[in-house]
Symmetry: C2
Subunit: 611 residues, 2 copies
């Protein structure tokens, strides 16, 4: 059975030493007034969170995978054994309310803290965690743009966890391309709407954890324009709500089936049929795509945290196995009296383990930096500071989603490899991590879509302004540390790559404006560009972490080797992982040329490109 211990030591290092988070949060009146920015309080909350996930969620992970969800003939869905009991404990302990608005029953803790909670939940049970995870996305959108009336009825229920929420976007013919959805809304006489259509791939779309489910649904109001500009967002409860707030009449939305999937078996992925279901407009008519992105951005970071969380636990389990499993002999011998040494002595095994550790710790640093930036974006008293933070959040969100889920999947695969043949056997649990991690690269916008969002929308569309802000942060750090011998080699690599990111962006940007093929040039290199960008961000964070660690070591404060490990992991990162940028620079420069192949290659009956 897999093991997991929440990485609290690392989290505290990042929170206090890298980010100086309590001091940053104390500048924000919202947290100061709610008394939720206190460092000791945040530590305690995270320790409590660790106990919850280790004690309640971890034991249900394999159960959920093996049992899966069951749909009954009436459209109801039963979750795996133990899921509901764990959910009730989670609610009772107040976790659903952790970072929610106190005006609706929330505890008003920083996103920084809920971010760590979500990482830990994903380390122990992705499928389970998606029930409250989706709910949180629905909360975000409703809180941001819902009417006061809707908020008063639904937010307290969602915040308390009494009800959960969903995001209903995808249709059979429309995944990436939401502009072509067919679900329709028709105005009723009472101000509500009748919603009809079929939504698929609705995570947590039906279940037995709560007596009601609040669906947020994209639909086209009759008479609205074609495409994304004619889409509105509606709230469709599974049960209509009585005057007293209790669930009343069953609404016209029914789970038609649940999917059989590669992984996350414990989460019900529902096909939902809306048949004249009563819905309520959320936000403005025809602004549904904008409102949806409030949920979606939260969901993207949450998905990135799935990659991070699975990467952490896969690494931990590979490490435990590598220390325990003996196989082959190493010189000098570790077990001279026995016939084999623990496999952790073999450098190739260390390479696999260090890959997991280096990507995970950098990912955690980025995620927490991003989460603190979300807090800053929402609550900093200074408008310029809010704008700076918002730009950073916009830039880093697609990287957090794609880079962390790609790395998380790769770590799961490589950690499985450490187990040899045992990694392929279900009872060891490693293959579940691979299956569960895979979805993170696909949903909430495929990682290819994230890359287009980064390069096309976030970088090129504003002429590189957001990118320039980040470049200035990096450049300032590099300049401040010139002459630091301990960091010189890293900063040299980082500086060159950061400059190269700028020049590559210029090259792609020029091609992008060069005519009708410009969009293809962006599309051709976006995935490699995001990966290059991710390495620059991780390289920056590793250099910053190494700087702090060097200072602690120099001050004689490295009692347990934690800081030496930070320095050595940073060195590993720059020696073994960062060089991927050399390949990526070449493939980005190669552009679209080698992709614009003759259509007959693909057996196409007519020419497609340039047709």
């Amino acid at each position: 059975m897999p093991v997991y211990k929440a990485p609290l030591r690392d989290v505290k290092f990042l929170m206090h030493e890298l980010l100086d988070a309590p001091a940053q949060l104390a500048k924000m009146p919202f947290y100061a007034e709610n008394d939720t920015a206190d460092g000791d309080l945040m530590n305690q909350v995270l320790e409590e969170a660790a106990r919850f996930v280790e004690g309640e969620l971890l034991p249900l992970n394999a159960v959920g995978d093996q049992e899966g969800c069951t749909r009954h003939d009436d459209g109801s869905v039963t979750t795996p054994t133990g899921f509901k009991a764990a959910y009730n404990k989670y609610r009772a302990a107040g976790w659903t309310a952790l970072d929610a608005d106190p005006a609706f029953g929330g505890q008003g803790m920083p996103h920084l803290i809920s971010n760590v909670l979500v990482e830990m939940m994903n380390s122990t049970n992705v499928a389970w965690s998606m029930y409250p995870g989706l709910s949180h996305g629905a909360y975000s959108a409703l809180h941001a743009v819902g009417s006061e009336e809707l908020k008063a009825i639904y937010l307290p229920k969602i915040v308390s966890g009494e009800w959960t929420g969903t995001m209903c976007l995808t249709e059979p013919h429309a995944g990436t391309d939401l502009g072509i959805i067919r679900t329709k809304a028709t105005a009723n006489a009472d101000g509500s709407y009748a919603i009809s259509g079929t939504k698929i791939f609705i995570s947590a779309g039906e279940h037995d954890l709560t007596p009601n489910i609040v669906h947020l649904v994209l639909a086209r109001l009759e008479g609205s324009p074609e495409g994304t500009k004619g889409i509105s967002l509606f709230l469709v409860p599974k049960f209509l709500v009585n005057e007293d707030g209790s669930p009343g009449e069953r609404n016209g939305v029914v789970c038609g089936s649940i999917e059989h999937k590669m992984g996350i078996h414990g989460n019900a992925t529902a096909l939902l049929n809306f048949d004249g279901a009563t819905g309520y407009l959320v936000g403005e008519i025809n602004k549904g795509m904008n409102h949806m992105f409030i949920m979606m951005n939260a969901a993207r970071l949450g998905t990135g945290l799935q990659g991070l969380g699975i990467g952490e636990t896969a690494y931990q389990n590979a490490l435990a196995y590598a220390k325990d499993r003996t196989q082959m002999r190493h010189e000098p011998r570790v077990n001279p009296g026995e016939n084999a040494d623990p496999i952790i002595v073999h450098p190739d095994v260390r390479r696999m383990l260090l890959t997991g550790k280096a990507y995970t710790e950098a990912g955690r640093a980025m995620a927490m930096w991003l989460a603190l930036s979300i807090d800053t974006e929402h609550h900093h008293p200074d408008e310029a500071a809010r704008k700076e933070a918002a730009d950073l959040v916009a830039l880093l969100t697609p990287i957090a989603k794609a880079f962390m889920t790609d790395n998380g999947f790769n770590i799961a695969v490589q950690s499985q490899q450490v187990f040899g043949g045992h990694g392929y056997i279900r009872e060891w649990g490693m293959e579940q991590y691979v299956r569960d991690a895979r979805i993170g690269q696909i949903y909430e916008g495929t990682n290819g879509i994230q890359a287009l969002d980064l390069l096309g929308r976030k970088v090129l569309m504003d002429g590189g302004k957001k990118l320039q802000k980040l470049a200035t942060i990096l450049q300032t750090f590099i300049e401040e540390n010139e002459g630091e011998d301990d960091l010189a080699a890293m900063l040299d690599q980082l500086g060159k790559a950061a400059n190269q990111l700028g020049s590559l962006t210029m090259v792609v940007g020029q091609k992008a404006m060069s005519g009708p093929e410009g969009a293809d040039e962006v599309n051709a290199v976006a995935v490699d560009y995001l990966r290059f960008f991710g390495h620059v961000v991780y390289g920056y964070l590793w250099a910053r972490m190494a700087k702090i660690a060097h200072a602690k070591i120099a001050a004689g404060q490295d009692r347990d080797g934690f800081y030496l490990a930070k320095v050595q992991t940073a060195q590993f990162y720059f020696a073994k992982l960062f060089p991927e940028t050399k390949a990526l620079a070449a493939t980005i420069k190669a552009g679209n040329e080698s992709l614009a192949v003759d259509d007959r290659m693909f057996g196409l009956e007519r020419a497609l490109v340039g047709a």
Copy 2:
């Protein structure tokens, strides 16, 4: 449901145009005498093979995954619905005998042909194909080193497919490290041996396809030395064989359980308990490891062909989906009257498809080159030619196993990505390819072990002689084509990388001899070295294929665009995949230094390295 069409056009291109195989094989008396080297005959056999796999194996692939195998209380195992009927058709058509020795009922066809058959079988049903696959490995070892008596009794049954064979190596505590196995052999008075011990992960170890199973088992004869030098190989039939050749008394080997695995559900992975089972020595006492490697080398190439086969079918299905699925609009529009264009117009989708195509076609070229070299090694009349071929086979086998399975897995993952959310759903079949492909990287010697075999044993142990022979082949090709404008850019990249492979080998070789840490230096870089090496081999083959294709185009013989596709895929390979060598060169140069971290990093209670 997944689709698959055997890539006969490409196979014929490689067989006739790249390898000039009929002429090469005609030089070998064995094939000349058996009339099995005729080009038309080989084409016909492969067309027949394509019909078999498409018609019989493909429809059973999902069935096998969903049903899996069932073990009963008596230790017997039932294979999935249809497996036995397909096996009977396979036998009846003579496929089990295809490349076997006519002296034992075989058809004496070249390995080149059976290699293609195995690729096609793996494209359509890996789990099913492992039953005859393992049998073939057992055939190879028994044919090479078995006594005439054993061969007379068992080989005709294995060749005809009446019985199947297995390889019993792994034990619970001994996978990579076979020197520490505990299974014991005790001499009986009649010249046979009593075998006792537990073997795990025995593919095709128990099933209902045939009335008998022939296990080849590694065990230590009482009194033999410790380690690999004290291991012998034994033949242990499930049923002892009567005088008339029919299965008789049940032998003391029983399937104790079958594993629940990530994939290849249709193949029974058995734990076998040997309890004083009667066994017969195969080859010489204490030479078991050498004899085992006869099977193992066959199994390694066979495993590489799993990666190749799954890569091909995953690519084909992604291509079909990408032409059918419409999503987003492309400028210029392909479907101007409809609301979306087929996703194959998007360059990032083409990048994913071309990655599959480029790795698969190069892999097929390497596998067929290797297979023809095996034919040459065994049957060429000239001893020097046999030795040359043997060296090439030795060098390329670990690359074929590791590079093809790593690429095959990555292609399966990337092809699944083309499907978006549908790729994660079982009914589309893509997620099964990912799960089935994963085992190829693990078994028959993990890919890490393949890398050590390549760098440590095949390259460094003979002072680089085998490597030098390959380098000469490449250098000759490059020099012969100097001044060919069409190839200049590719040959420039290839030549530089080939030189770099030499210099990297020198650097690692020097470190390897530098003292007790030398072994760690090899271990630290072997995986990256194998990948670098693989790219050099694939680059060479792409350049050769491009040369042939350019000539055909220049001669006006490219009617259907096949040769243009070869040229463009070669260009894609050098533009987008080959540049990985830039990163690998850096990580190989970085060596072991960043891996030799302080042991406290891993929470080790005592120092391990340098202890």
